[in-house]
């Protein structure tokens, strides 16, 4: 206890230096805590943007559908799969879809598009099309010929709400062309080129009729009960719905480029954390060594009067730990204040695209108690590890060298 008391008094001896060093270390620590929270927030934002816009957190298809885009490759045993999904505890929502390539024709021009056949009632839980309607409604009328198209496509086709357009698709098995006229019931705007220009949404039953696939579907988009469940490779979902002729894929497999980018984000987080950590650690080294060399004479006295080398080592390690504790308190307070501000105001990256995913919302840091424990503990442990060197130097120091001309 005596060494601990002495260590605290030594640390507080030069208050200005201790405060400056502690603030420098504390700012580094607060940056580490906030960076961690922001990176998690950014990842969640990206994943949420990617999955909740249209993709879903997972999808079920016929094994060869994604590869071939053949409309006859519909989900095998669809009714059984849907029944099981309905009773699956890991599944929050799901929506059936048809997907096909098609042509959209207006009086002015023709464009190729992806034609989604959806059930508007269930799909609104899996996509954000309904939230992004700029004109008209999201399948507001009961009419089977309603179509919802993107704003850019409307511009290209030179059409507006209520105008007629024609969709042409190739039917399953025969390849015969099927054409239907639709009325534009809604125009959405995502500010994302691929979505605003290349997709159209019609009712599922109409799409099935056009594609001649009866009540079959190509895709089931799934939302899990937890946001991170899609990243759990051991989830029984994948085995259960991905065996046989069907495949069940997470968003990470469907958008590998986003997954890779997020993995890179982890690497950059570690690198940034490492850099910040080095700044923090060098602050500690500097403070400890300045204090050590300034007090060599004093250590010489302590040793001369009978302090064992272990006693001096203990004293220096306590000083290092005391500095870490002060710095941790400052860092935690600064981190907490910073996180309150960031959680309140967020960081606006709206509209920025990263690996195919668009951030529509502000980034809000995800703060957990773990961040306020993990990084301060790191600082404490590393400070003590770093303190070992000056502690060993002090323990081995020759008293006569320390005292110089004394005695």
């Amino acid at each position: 206890m005596f060494y601990l008391k002495l260590a605290w008094r030594n640390i507080l001896r030069n208050k200005r230096r201790t405060i400056i060093a502690s603030i420098a270390i504390g700012v580094g620590l607060a940056s580490m805590i906030l960076t961690d929270g922001i990176m998690i927030g950014m990842k969640d934002n990206l994943v949420d943007s990617a999955t909740s816009t249209l993709l879903g957190e997972a999808q079920i298809h016929h094994k060869y559908f994604r590869k071939t885009q053949d409309v006859e490759k519909t989900i095998i045993n669809k009714n059984e799969v849907l029944k099981e999904l309905g009773g699956d505890n890991s599944v929050d929502k799901f929506s059936e879809r048809t997907l096909s390539l098609g042509m959209i024709t207006s009086p002015s021009t023709v464009e190729s598009v992806i034609v989604y056949g959806i059930d508007p009632d269930s799909d609104k839980y899996l996509s954000k099309i309904d939230n992004r309607i700029r004109e008209g409604t999201y399948f507001g009328s009961e009419g089977k010929r309603d179509i919802v198209i993107g704003s850019k496509l409307a511009e290209v086709l030179e059409v507006s709400l209520g105008d007629r357009i024609v969709i042409t698709v190739a039917q399953a098995f025969t390849g015969d062309l099927s054409q239907e006229m639709f009325l534009i019931g809604g125009i959405y705007h995502f500010n994302v080129k691929e979505m605003d220009n290349g997709m159209v949404f019609i009712r599922k039953e109409k799409a099935q009729e056009m594609l001649n696939i009866s009540t079959e579907i190509h895709e089931i988009a799934v939302k899990f009960t937890g946001i991170r469940m899609a990243e759990d490779k051991n989830l029984t979902f994948w085995e259960k719905y991905g065996s046989g002729e069907n495949e069940a894929l997470s968003w990470a497999k469907i958008m590998p480029e986003l997954k890779n980018m997020l993995d890179m984000t982890d690497v950059s987080l570690y690198m940034m954390g490492g850099i910040l950590f080095f700044i923090v650690i060098f602050g500690i080294i500097n403070a400890l060594f300045m204090s050590l060399y300034e007090r060599m004479f004093e250590f010489g006295i302590l040793k001369a009067v009978g302090t064992r080398p272990g006693g001096l080592r203990k004293l220096i390690l306590f000083e290092a730990a005391s500095l870490a504790v002060i710095s941790n308190i400052i860092g935690i307070i600064l981190g907490f204040i910073g996180s309150i501000l960031l959680v309140k105001y967020g960081i606006d990256y709206g509209g920025i695209e990263i690996s195919g995913a668009y951030m529509h919302e502000k980034i809000y840091p995800v703060m957990t108690i773990f961040q306020y424990i993990k990084y301060p503990v790191f600082v404490l442990i590393f400070t003590i590890i770093i303190g070992l060197y000056p502690a060993i130097v002090a323990g081995r120091m020759k008293v006569t060298d320390a005292l110089r001309k004394s005695m």
Partner: protein
């Protein structure tokens, strides 16, 4: 060795090597100092008196020869054993007071007893008593910076004596004090020497100490030039 002999050195040699050059600071000193002596080691700068005292106290190791204190071969001791021996047998008074500035007077004095695991109540009693003896009663809660130079040196003496060591080694204890303070301090040490029977060994240039010392050892070029008992 006589029972009353506190320090015994035999053919003590210390050679320093610097850039391949050898410098002999102590060239072979053999002497004995007995219990209760009030001895001054004097000599010009470079005569080897600092090195000699460093060797006696175990702060430095001899190149050749031996040092025995209280019948213990201190020149062969190392690490923990040497630290503990110094703690229990030697009290140090340094030139520039050398109190720990962040500790109070009481904490500075009790530090060695703390290393010896003396119980708190006994430590406090002994601190109060020794402060009385050095004339600093009531100052136990002060920090060294709140004391005059003379008072600080008295605290240093109290620290050196409080654990009842057999030997007090004092390096120029009056060098930083004015002559009046130095004289008072010396008087006090003399009284303590007479009342406690502790052995005092000084390294000094101070004529006052030389005058009052009962034995005067003069070193020159690392050897004992004269050894005068008064």
């Amino acid at each position: 060795m006589d029972q009353k002999t506190i320090i015994s050195t035999e053919n003590l040699v210390k050679t320093y090597k610097d850039n391949g050059m050898e410098a002999k600071a102590v060239r072979g000193i053999s002497l004995e100092i007995t219990s209760g002596e009030f001895t001054a080691v004097v000599g010009p700068s470079g005569s080897g008196k600092t090195t000699f005292l460093n060797l006696i106290s175990g702060l430095d190791t001899p190149t050749k020869g031996t040092v025995m204190i209280n019948n213990k071969l201190i020149s062969e001791m190392k690490g923990k054993e040497l630290s503990d021996f110094r703690r229990d047998n030697i009290g140090f008074v340094f030139q520039s007071y050398n109190l720990i500035p962040v500790l109070t007077v009481e904490e500075n004095i009790e530090y060695i007893m703390l290393l010896q695991n003396v119980p708190k109540s006994e430590r406090h009693e002994r601190v109060i008593k020794i402060l009385e003896e050095v004339g600093l009663s009531g100052l136990e809660t002060r920090r060294p910076t709140q004391l005059s130079g003379g008072q600080q040196q008295r605290v240093a003496i109290a620290r050196a004596m409080v654990s009842n060591p057999t030997l007090i080694l004092a390096d120029e204890p009056t060098a930083n004090l004015d002559s009046e303070m130095g004289s008072e301090l010396l008087k006090m040490m003399k009284v303590l020497n007479e009342t406690t029977g502790m052995t005092f060994l000084f390294s000094t240039h101070d004529e006052m100490i030389m005058d009052r010392a009962r034995r005067l050892i003069t070193l020159k070029d690392g050897l004992v030039k004269t050894d005068e008992i008064r």
